[in-house]
């Protein structure tokens, strides 16, 4: 039965907006499951009840305008409602104008065949200066703080994916794409590349380490002073 319970397979959510995504997922899961079960029930009843039997003829029914109107209207309402319900979530996650401010960390993430380069602006808060800190495949952020990321790529398209954050964004060469998240639970999470990027695509993998506030300070003190 677990195979039918899709939401049970979602990895633990550790971002502030992830719950909104999961709620939509569960909502759609229920709506589509009910529709599916209803359609299958009708189909099976019809198949059994209206199977060929000696002496019974099919009935000549060409259609029903009322039914057409009812099911067209009903599906339109349902899918529109789903679209409207999801707009706020979409805007919240992807619209730069709605990103929360005061980030606890700002990082540039650069996808290249087949690694993630993470660049911190360093103590002066500016990129391209001597105190920048560059790490390969290691992203360190504080818990319960907004993180802003500038995402780009060197060569081909990659995709930054952290399943537990419910966050995915393609990285484009020649373009900076802004994204944000706020992690709610310390730990280490994998950052697979989700867009085919060449023969090393499988295994292109970074690690997101979410620190407690103190740990993050300690990490910063250790690494940012070099």
């Amino acid at each position: 039965m677990k195979w039918l319970n899709f939401p049970a397979w979602l990895p633990e959510n550790v971002s502030t907006f992830g719950q909104g995504v999961d709620n939509l997922f569960v909502l759609i899961y229920w709506v589509t499951s009910i529709v599916f079960l209803a359609v299958m029930a009708v189909l099976i009843v019809f198949i059994v009840k209206y199977r060929f039997q000696e002496g019974r003829k099919a009935e000549y029914i060409e259609g029903s305008t009322t039914l057409e109107i009812v099911w067209t209207a009903a599906t339109t309402v349902i899918v529109f409602a789903l679209a409207m319900l999801s707009l706020p979530q979409w805007n919240r996650i992807k619209f730069p104008s709605q990103f929360p401010g005061n980030p606890g960390a700002v990082v540039q993430v650069n996808g290249k065949q087949f690694n993630w380069d993470m660049t911190y602006p360093g103590p002066d808060g500016e990129w391209g200066t001597d105190d920048d800190l560059q790490l390969e495949n290691q992203l360190h952020v504080p818990v319960n703080e907004v993180v802003h990321i500038r995402l780009t790529a060197d060569d081909v398209i990659h995709s930054f994916f952290v399943p537990q954050l419910r966050l995915k964004q393609d990285a484009l060469p020649g373009r900076f794409i802004n994204m944000w998240f706020e992690a709610t639970k310390p730990g280490t999470y994998e950052i697979p590349c989700a867009e085919l990027c060449g023969f090393g695509h499988s295994g292109m993998l970074g690690y997101l380490t979410v620190h407690t506030a103190e740990d993050y300070e300690a990490w910063k003190n250790e690494r940012w002073t070099e």
Partner: protein, 617 residues
């Protein structure tokens, strides 16, 4: 070839073997050529899938038979004949094809990318389109609208042979240095447009060239279909007496005609980038990687509907025959298909929600995509309505059609998740998408094809396919299909990315690996079952039970033509007096009224035949 074909030679001129079977101008022979071609390519595409499914279940384990033993892989100890053979291969100086792509019998990651790229490319462009549009389109259109052939028979023949040319070019790609295209069937630039990024050289070029040739083949077909359907309908065959399969093929031909030029230009731009040093898609040279995605999906979203509409049409033909009832809501079926055709031009962005396209566009594409679910739902409800108070015969075609309907429902519903852009953030580029694709294209179109082959086989070859074998093939395929593709939803929800060669490289995916093994085992069963289909088709061509003219007691015009259908199709061009689905008409003697039966004999006649082209109803 087959002896009964000669008996049908009651027309005036004798044809040579070449003009009858090879460069044939007869739409029926061309349709059959596409059928055999598509079935062979189905096996090729399926074979590639078997290879990469092995790798996904048992990553980096040598393939059976051709691969080395465990002892050799781990300690270099030669124990089997395969080990010895590999020893020899590694020893000589030249690097063979096998050594490059499957050293020791282990699928190389670069070859893995070529495998899934070519699997999808072949299945979409060389199997489903040739079968639905090439085989059934060619065979059915003139017969169902009541005419003697296509409007442009020579163009039709060229369409088949350019399709073969495209296939030769595509297959050559496997054997060029650098290997075959490996950027996915979606060919995202700049991976596809700059050779250094993928290491693929001529493979990708041939991929582009072949698809352009295939597209030209489709263009020739679609011009033919559109012209034929508009101009050559039999007297009385008004638009609203057209069988739904013809409506579907008509709409598909228009979609092909409009969509192909876009992708042809995009493919040409890739070729320029690769061969002439331009940078349409390379940011460093001022190009734009997303340009490819917009052009590709502007073509490929209509393309995915090209892959399903004829299946829907064929299902709508078979359903009333074996339900002995008119199609429920014929006109809303037509309008739903027209709506799909229009909407399919304005939803392409749903493939690009996470691409970096402006998120405001994402929001609008979400809305249009949700809308396109409506006509799909309408069609499903109408199919259900057709079964209401029916008298259902569970023949092989009917079983396949019932599978088509239920699998299409699953595929349509999974589309709702992905159309929802916030949810798509998570499931985009995961196996959830792979599950969706296969529920619509395999569960949908391919089951419609299985049913269609069985259903029209008696008209095509004058013989029946074997029903027992057909049922065995159906049930194994149906169960194994669900065993393969249903669990892919779960992998997707677990976050399993598509297009990765080795899931075991990711800690969060390792607990789900048993599901991958289960899928692969089911995939092998599914693949093996298709051999039954091949056997049934080829055996029945020569040895099947001889069929009478109208074995299913169906109403549409193709069953009015003699069996086997002679050159020119009809003794005299039929007149059409009825809609296509007059089954179980009250007070009628038989439970079906052929479209050709004059009105006097039924109360449900619709007046004098109207000349084709005139609008009625």
């Amino acid at each position: 070839m087959n002896d009964h074909a000669h008996e049908s030679h009651d027309h005036h001129h004798e044809e040579s073997f070449v003009s009858k079977y090879i460069f044939s101008l007869d739409h029926k022979m061309i349709g059959k050529q596409f059928l055999i071609f598509g079935l062979i390519m189905f096996m090729v595409g399926g074979g590639l899938a078997m290879l990469f499914r092995w790798q996904l279940a048992w990553p980096d384990k040598p393939l059976p038979i051709i691969g080395v033993s465990k002892a050799y892989q781990e300690e270099g100890e030669v124990t089997t004949a395969a080990d010895r053979k590999w020893e020899e291969r590694f020893d000589d100086d030249k690097e063979t094809w096998l050594e490059t792509n499957m050293p020791s019998g282990v699928i190389d990651p670069a070859f893995f990318n070529s495998l899934f790229t070519m699997h999808a490319t072949i299945m979409v462009f060389f199997v489903v389109v040739p079968l639905l549009v090439g085989a059934f389109g060619n065979f059915l259109i003139p017969l169902m609208i009541g005419t003697r052939d296509m409007a442009f028979p020579v163009l039709n023949m060229l369409s088949f042979w350019s399709n073969i040319l495209g296939t030769i070019i595509m297959m050559a790609g496997f054997f060029v240095p650098g290997g075959h295209a490996a950027a996915g069937w979606t060919g995202y630039a700049p991976l596809s447009s700059i050779a250094e990024y993928s290491g693929v050289d001529w493979g990708q070029n041939l991929w582009c060239i072949s698809l352009i040739v295939m597209g030209i083949s489709s263009l020739m077909g679609s011009i033919n279909y559109i012209t034929t359907i508009i101009n050559m309908r039999a007297p009385g065959m008004t638009w609203f007496r057209l069988p739904l399969a013809i409506w579907a093929l008509f709409i598909v031909a228009i979609l092909l005609l409009l969509a192909f030029p876009v992708v042809a230009s995009a493919l040409a731009l890739i070729l320029f980038d690769r061969m002439a040093g331009t940078s349409f898609f390379a940011a460093a040279g001022g190009g734009e990687p997303l340009l490819w995605q917009h052009l590709f999906w502007f073509f490929a979203h209509p393309e995915v509907y090209i892959l399903i509409l004829p299946g829907m049409g064929m299902a709508s033909e078979m359903l009333p025959v074996f339900a002995r009832k008119p199609v429920f809501g014929y006109k809303s079926m037509v309008f739903a298909m027209i709506a799909i055709a229009f909407l399919s031009w304005i939803v392409w962005g749903h493939h690009m929600f996470q691409s970096g396209m402006n998120p405001a566009l994402g929001a609008s594409f979400m809305t249009t995509t949700m809308l396109i679910a409506v006509p799909s739902a309408i069609k499903t409800f109408n199919w259900l309505g057709t079964l209401h108070r029916a008298s259902i015969r569970f023949t092989v075609p009917m079983l396949n059609v019932l599978a088509f309907i239920s699998m299409f429902v699953i595929g349509g519903l999974s589309g709702i998740y992905m159309a929802n852009s916030p949810v798509d953030i998570y499931i985009h580029d995961t196996y959830y998408i792979v599950a969706h694709i296969h529920y619509v294209v395999f569960g949908g179109s391919v089951f419609a094809i299985f049913g269609g082959i069985f259903h029209w086989f008696p008209k095509m070859y004058g013989r029946h396919m074997n029903a027992t074998l057909g049922k065995i093939h159906f049930w194994i395929s149906f169960l194994a299909f669900n065993g393969v593709f249903f669990p892919m939803h779960i992998l997707g929800v677990g976050g399993h990315m598509r297009r990765i060669a080795n899931p075991m490289q990711y800690e969060f995916l390792q607990p789900m690996q048993p599901i991958n093994v289960f899928i692969t085992v089911c995939a092998f069963i599914l693949g093996a079952a298709q051999i039954l289909l091949l056997i049934n088709v080829f055996w029945s061509i020569f040895r099947g039970k001889v069929a009478e003219q109208n074995p299913w007691e169906a109403t549409t015009l193709e069953w009015h033509a003699p069996t086997p259908v002679p050159h020119g199709n009809f003794d005299a061009i039929p007149h059409v007096y009825h809609g296509p689905y007059e089954y179980s008409v009250p007070d009628a003697e038989a439970d079906w009224i052929p479209q050709t039966q004059p009105n006097g004999e039924s109360e449900h006649g619709e007046g004098e035949p109207v000349p084709a082209g005139a609008t009625a109803d």
